[in-house]
Symmetry: C2
Subunit: 327 residues, 2 copies
């Protein structure tokens, strides 16, 4: 997707990175733009960030269907983390989030309650309706925020389905939000959410049906409705009323998961998998270019045409593409 | 995911395919199982299907969030298509659908109202919480149903986010279901649904808020809230009350889209892109194996470890993987 024109602006990358490390919000914003837009200086920024310095931040992935109150919850969570003295970055990749309203909303509005707080960095990542871009751009944006010295990065994304899996792949702690009612508890269990969530949040917990949803979710977890092995973390189910600022149970659960991960040496393997997924995605994207694109008359079009005509099977067609790459 | 043990059963593929072509529901079921489970005979079945014979079916993708009434709508749609004399296949890849309840429900229950109708084939595709498998297995399952002579294949999948894009990639006509209220109209516009849907259905249209949702969606379409160029199909917005069997507007919209696609030579390019995506996915999966898997101590682990330690940037790491593949 993408492809809309943007003003290309040449950055002095070492100077920008130094400014970001000194706490410049504008420098952070410019560097995140480069890595999320994939502009000509992307590789230069990536190389500059890989100097072995800095501390890894705690990456929280927050996801859930539209309407469950993700942005409200993230805002209340940021307030709570700030009260603990933590520096916080928010990457909003949810196209329906007020944080990432794109051209519709100015930066002031996106920043919301945190516009005047120097310890909070909020950046939207325009996914342009194509969540595939998230996997590639988000880890780089996290690194920019790490360079700026944030302690926690909250990655907010929309979704039921593939996007939880993506969020889980890039987060240290994955939070899935649900709203009471609508059989969400049962749906969640069936949709594989238990397999990726570290913390399940029933938001709007002052509404009818919240108790039933919490109960269903806890039963599903207790019954092993998830696919985790014994000794692994089992999802915590908590209640929030984010609109009223009540995210206390969520904050406690997050700290509990973080402590558990440290005690069980679970942090490093997860980060290794995350880096592996990121590098694989970039390498596969490059190998895909070898095939050509659909409609460009290359080898891919040739074999795809025969597959569409049912005269070549897709595995035999793939053999030819692989042979072309391996040359 | 997957990985659960299954009884492997050796099929006489030419005999099964001949039986499927003669209308054997059991042969269709066995062949769909082979292509969806990815067993040892997958390639044999794929090769047998690619003999240049048979007619392409009209592939309808139906998606929407949990609770909007997808399965009810699909069932009512099947009834309507059957009344027109069409032979219909249903591939249910929605893990929350009664059609694909897996071990929870027997085949009879899954078949529902259509259990005794020889002109309807219903098969569930277990996605095991991992929608990535859909892209690879579904086109093969469609080919099995085409061999059995169905005129229409309905692919039902859950989701907000990535899965619509996947459904759109494999369907001739993409249907996105919404329910009234909850700001669905606005959310839909923002979430990029307009970019992939050919037909937008407001189901449960007898409920409060349906008129507002229909109005919002039509405004979004009229205002060019989607990214389609002039001359392209613009999504139709229709109402259904699937629980009462009323899917008349949907059926009309589907036929209108099909007629439009034929008149505008839009069918073949879409199928070419579909085949290209399928073949690419298989080829990339194979190339990925060259890297090794995370945690296996291969080249991928080596470079990912350095990326995680911020001593190597992910693009430079990807360069090494690509060089290893290209030998």
């Amino acid at each position: 997707m993408g492809g809309r024109a943007r003003r290309a602006r040449h950055l002095d990358v070492p100077a920008e990175l130094a400014a970001a490390r000194s706490g410049s919000h504008r420098a952070v914003a410019r560097l995140v733009s480069v890595v999320s837009d994939g502009g000509p200086q992307l590789r230069e920024v990536a190389a500059a960030l890989a100097d072995g310095s800095g501390e890894a931040a705690w990456v929280l992935g927050v996801t859930g269907s539209p309407g469950v109150g993700k942005s409200t919850t993230v805002s209340a969570l940021v307030t709570a983390l700030r009260a603990d003295g933590l520096r916080v970055g928010v990457l909003a990749v949810d196209p329906s989030s007020p944080f990432s309203g794109g051209a519709l909303l100015g930066d002031r509005v996106r920043m919301g309650d945190h516009a005047l707080d120097d310890g909070v960095y909020v950046r939207s990542m325009a996914s342009r309706g194509h969540l595939g871009g998230l996997a590639a751009a988000t880890p780089q944006a996290v690194r920019v925020l790490e360079a700026a010295g944030v302690d926690v990065v909250v990655v907010e994304t929309v979704g039921v389905g593939q996007s939880e899996v993506e969020v889980a792949a890039l987060a240290d702690t994955t939070v899935v939000l649900l709203a009471p009612g609508m059989g969400d508890g049962v749906q969640a269990a069936k949709a594989g959410i238990l397999e990726v969530a570290d913390v399940l949040v029933v938001n709007k917990a002052d509404r009818d049906g919240a108790d039933a949803t919490v109960r269903e979710l806890r039963q599903s977890v207790a019954l092993g409705g998830d696919a985790r092995a014994p000794g692994e973390w089992r999802p915590t189910v908590v209640r929030t009323v984010a609109a009223g600022g009540d995210v206390e149970e969520l904050v406690q659960a997050l700290h509990a998961h973080r402590a558990w991960a440290r005690d069980h040496d679970a942090v490093a393997p997860r980060r290794l998998r995350r880096a592996a997924a990121e590098v694989s995605a970039i390498a596969l994207g490059r190998l895909r270019q070898t095939f050509g694109r659909a409609g460009e008359g290359g080898l891919l079009d040739d074999v795809a045409g025969r597959v569409a005509a049912r005269t070549l099977d897709p595995f035999a067609a793939a053999d030819r593409l692989v042979a072309a790459v391996e040359g």
